[in-house]
Symmetry: C2
Subunit: 308 residues, 2 copies
């Protein structure tokens, strides 16, 4: 693998991260539009984004994961049922030729989740196996991982195998209420913290019986109206309520875990750290972009002829 | 009051209902845009909508309730703190002259809700007092009322006085997820039922521990992907989950009530009837438009010089 130059990409609904790699080195990075937001098709987008690399290195194999393999993506890959390990993802991957090189797409996973419902993920499976590669302690025993995002995923990894997982609408509900609801018209930046609104929202959620979230959400509005809570603080309070509700319920479904592994971008991961702490769980973090790249290396190591 | 001709209106965020009344008779009805959706200001809207009545009857006094009294409305009326009765709403109403006649706007109510947070309503207070006028049994004893809508309101009426209430984001979250989320792109008609999606969603919510709603919402999507649930049924399932979560928690906060009074438009009220039945509570219905009109008569009866 140390000799091969290739493109590794995590192509989600709202954003695309591409890395030009040689062995374990990253030579360059590009970000672009997600599958749901791009105007041209995925193929045209991929071609225009990677043209500069092709001009320098010629045809490059590409390893991709995420919504690029969904029905709305480039080429649909079926969901692989859990339990799943890197080898089964590699076997179920879809390969096709694009401009003289092979594009490989990792399948998503499906499972019967801990609440007894069908569940799906695309892209997070690659991050999970990357996290296991980056943190060898995760390769044995039972571990609870959380991947916060538009649809937060909670996953159980046992001896390096994804046994089961559960999705939450946390990020999507937050964004809808922030951008489209009566709660706030101006919106706020989810990456920055305003006063201690987040901690207040978290503490409020924790102080109430389970099931209060549908009623607590309206407080965000009434506190703005009656207590003149600034808009940015109100948005943070909303984030605290929603992430608190997600974490409180998930810890109930999955039971106690020694340390919960948070795989995410740092600002969002920090919110989950706070919420996990509030509900009595320790946590540690692995960067989502690092995990994604490590996962593609693990899944496709032998395809590239490397030693990983 | 039987001699006076007047305009009675419930002017909410998304719609306006105006009635031309003489005493207890309704001579005509007009519907129009809500405070949040109208392009021109409320004053210009009101003028153009009622021009035809003015041409026939001359200047007409108008009695209005709802978001027309909010900061984004016509003239802001302050919130009146609970406990509140019709007399206190009448005393706190705002009156001003428009085209030679008096416009009166009912104030909204505020309270410290059963979850210990500030809460507000505008328009529902008028419907509540109208319901008490229409159902004399509500004038004594303690009663739990629910007014489903964009922001569902649960209210405690004791001896004809609104003691306290609690808002839920139920309707707004439903509309956001139906119209703007990954759950559904095509949307569905909330007024019609598809298969038994609603009952399935309700049963599913009921079968789970409190607090599951954030995770259950994602099922709507995964069942569409993996079980090919038709979109309209999925939207109904979503409605069942959300109304179920609202009702389950509200009955917990307010405790058992002999009969819950549902004040709403018939199709939405029927969903709350089903959910209340599922959680062991009896319910009866009062039409929202009737309640609104009856409330305005009760609040402004003596302003109009009538006997109510």
């Amino acid at each position: 693998m140390h000799d091969t130059t290739f493109i590794a990409g995590d192509w989600g609904s709202t954003s695309l991260r591409l890395a030009l790699c040689r062995g374990t080195k990253i030579l360059d990075r590009i970000t672009g539009p997600g599958v749901a937001t791009q105007l041209a098709g995925p193929q045209a987008n991929f071609r225009s984004l990677t043209k500069i690399w092709g001009a320098e290195y010629g045809p490059l194999p590409a390893l991709l994961c995420g919504m690029v393999g969904a029905r709305i993506g480039w080429v649909e890959t079926p969901y692989l049922p859990c339990p799943a390990e890197p080898q089964s993802l590699r076997r179920a991957a879809i390969h096709f030729t694009h401009e003289g090189a092979t594009v490989s797409i990792v399948p998503g996973l499906s499972c019967n989740n801990p609440l007894g419902a069908p569940d799906v993920m695309r892209g997070e499976e690659t991050q999970i196996f990357g996290a296991v590669a980056l943190s060898p302690a995760l390769a044995s025993g039972r571990h609870l991982l959380v991947l916060p995002g538009t649809h937060t995923k909670w996953a159980i990894v046992e001896n390096g195998t994804v046994q089961s997982f559960l999705s939450a609408m946390t990020g999507e509900i937050f964004a809808l209420l922030r951008d489209h609801s009566t709660l706030s018209k101006a919106g706020g930046n989810p990456q920055t913290r305003a006063a201690d609104g987040f901690r207040k929202g978290l503490a409020r959620l924790k102080s109430m019986p389970a099931g209060a979230i549908v009623h607590l959400l309206f407080e965000v509005r009434s506190r703005q109206l009656l207590e003149a809570v600034p808009e940015r603080e109100a948005i943070e309070y909303l984030s605290g309520l929603l992430i608190g509700a997600d974490v409180a319920a998930a810890l109930q479904w999955f039971g106690a875990a020694a340390t919960v592994v948070v795989i995410g971008e740092p600002a969002l991961a920090a919110r989950y750290n706070d919420a996990l702490t509030a509900f009595g769980a320790e946590s540690c973090n692995i960067d989502a972009a690092d995990a994604s790249l490590a996962g593609l290396r693990v899944i496709f190591g032998d395809v590239l002829g490397g030693e990983n």
